[in-house]
Amino acid sequence: MTTVTIPGEGSVPVLSQPSRQGWWRRFRRRPPAVLGLAGVVIVVAVAVFAPLLAHYSPIVSQFGHVLEGPFSSGHILGTDELGRDELSRLIYGSQATLEVGVLATLLAMAIAIPVGIAAGYYRGAADMVAMRVTDVVLAFPFLLIAVGLAAIFGPSLQNVILALGIAQLPGSVRIARAEAMALREQDFVQAAIVTGAKDRVILFRHLFPNMLSPLMVQASVSIPAAILGSALLSFLGLGVQPPTPSWGNMLASAQTYLYNDPWIAIFPGVAIFLTTLSFNLLGDGLRDLFDPSMR
């Protein structure tokens, strides 16, 4: 075998500008997305560093300071009906709230990705089954699933996560499937098949890594959806059980005092709103970032 040296393009150094550097710069050009990212970072930081940030216990009641307004006696956001510091409960409440959002989404993804890949890449019977099952899941309102699970196993964080995870399955499966189908037709996947690569290699080295960006976008949308869902479940008494604070159950217990002491409802409400907004803005930004036509 001889090496053919070609006085062509080949001898010239490659183009510069890897697009990885461009990522942050392109992202930075979208102020809403940057704002969303900042919001998400703040919420995550608050949840992680909750013990350092909170001055009071979120659980221990101080019956001498029940329903004090904001900026009173050292409680910046006031206290709730059991005299617990509202700010500390908000800070600790972010933990359960985020946990539900993230874990429910991870659960959905963990099931959806293999199912979606199998359905989209192999098509045929696997696809048929996957699609019919998602149709069935879609037909059940997720509240019904949550109520059912709570009724059988009793209300708990795990069941909230399970219910919300199942509720998100159909959407995630469909997205994973659509991505796998599109990638299957890409020349580089066809090239891998022609090369004689094993299915395992094609699925893990070609399909999965290239599905990550759209799935990340999906996650950034489904995390806030799960947070809202968990708030709703807590509100109905099916979610995280008191005294552990979550924004949902804070909102639920505040409803009795809504008229006279509105702040204990407003603060968790605003926290939920800002958090879901941040995730959604970030999601929109990521979607634009990964959309080749926007480059």
Binding site: T3, G8, V14, F188, V194, G196, H206
Partner: protein, 332 residues
């Protein structure tokens, strides 16, 4: 082994159109037979929708043909199960048209070129790297590109990477599907020279699929012309380009503009009217008859068969060939 490397016999490929489009059958390949000898480059020439790419995909088994047989080095691979097919795959490799979508954007060039080696466990004690380096140097790139990602390379460089991936296993047969049609003229020249050089030094056979007659004439030993899922003419390069017999081949050659104003403006223009009909409802008789200047009543009722123009393997699928030939004999 002295037989042909690739022998395709009576290949047919039908697709079912989506139900929204009427759900009818589309005959992408109606009947294709071809052979490629050892070290031979066969050009498969045709316009959009002629079925040339489908033939290539059937040969590499990305598609399973509806009927017909594909023999590679004497073995029937038409319906070979996946497990048995894997060792055969190392012998048949493919280069794609689009240098952008044919390389996984998340893998480095080194990983891309090494993929076939890993798939077939061909790295012995050496490791993958030296073999990948040799393949990348063979296509005229420096080994520095091994650690780059495809999006850092130009179109021509990417196409060289695609070629390196296809040739790293030193296959017997290369399927090249329009490998230069997405490239600019000056870059295209480099890839064509490279293909010619590599074919000479490595000795592989090649099915070169293209719509560009100039490229086919430059590179190929033999040429097959496809129209509406059929090979209408096949022969050596000199026969097809120097003495085209099928009216469609003639019209193709006449239609491609020459890059020379004097020759282009003085040549006789005989432009074939109309456009290829839909493959869902091909016309009865000869598929070219609605557009053909020579067509008579027989052409619209009876499908022509391959007719020998010369004993060297120059064939054309046309009723009027015999008459043309006897005419020529009477003239001389």
């Amino acid at each position: 082994m002295t037989g042909p490397v690739l022998e395709v016999t009576d290949l047919r490929m039908e697709f079912r159109a989506p139900r929204s489009a009427g759900g009818r059958r589309v005959q992408a390949i109606r009947e294709v037979s071809l052979t490629i000898g050892e070290g031979e480059i066969l050009g498969l020439v045709g316009e959009t929708g002629s079925g040339k790419t489908t033939v290539g995909k059937c040969v590499v088994r990305l598609l399973r043909p509806t009927a017909g047989t594909i023999r590679f080095a004497g073995r029937d691979i038409t319906t070979m199960p996946a497990r048995a097919l894997r060792p055969v795959r190392s012998q048949i490799q493919m280069v794609f048209q689009d240098p952008y979508s044919s390389l996984d954007p998340r893998m480095t060039v080194g990983q891309i070129v090494a993929e076939p080696l890993r798939a077939h466990g061909r790295f012995k004690d050496l490791g993958v790297r030296p073999l990948a380096s040799r393949a990348i140097e063979r296509v005229g790139l420096s080994t520095q590109v091994l650690d780059r990602y495809p999006n850092e390379l130009s179109g021509g460089q990417r196409q060289r990477v695609g070629l390196a991936r296809a040739l790293v296993l030193e296959p017997k047969l290369l399927i090249a599907d329009e490998p230069v049609s997405a490239l600019d003229v000056s870059v295209r020249a480099g890839i064509l020279n490279l293909l010619a050089d590599l074919q000479k030094s490595m000795g592989f056979s090649c099915l070169f699929i293209t719509h560009d007659l100039g490229v086919a004439e430059f590179l190929c030993d033999r040429v097959a012309v496809m129209y509406l899922g059929e090979i209408v003419e096949v022969g050596s390069r000199d026969e097809v380009f120097g003495d085209p017999r099928h009216p469609y081949t003639r019209s193709l050659l006449g239609a491609a503009p020459l890059a020379d104003p004097v020759a282009q403006r003085s040549r006789e223009r005989s432009i074939m009217p109309g456009e290829p009909p839909s493959a869902i409802s091909p016309p009865p008789g000869c598929s070219l008859n609605p557009r053909c200047p020579l067509a008579d009543t027989r052409c619209s009722t009876e499908a022509p068969v391959q007719t020998e123009v010369s004993p060297t393997g120059h064939l054309a699928r046309c009723h009027r060939i015999q008459e043309q030939m006897s005419l020529e004999v009477s003239h001389t």
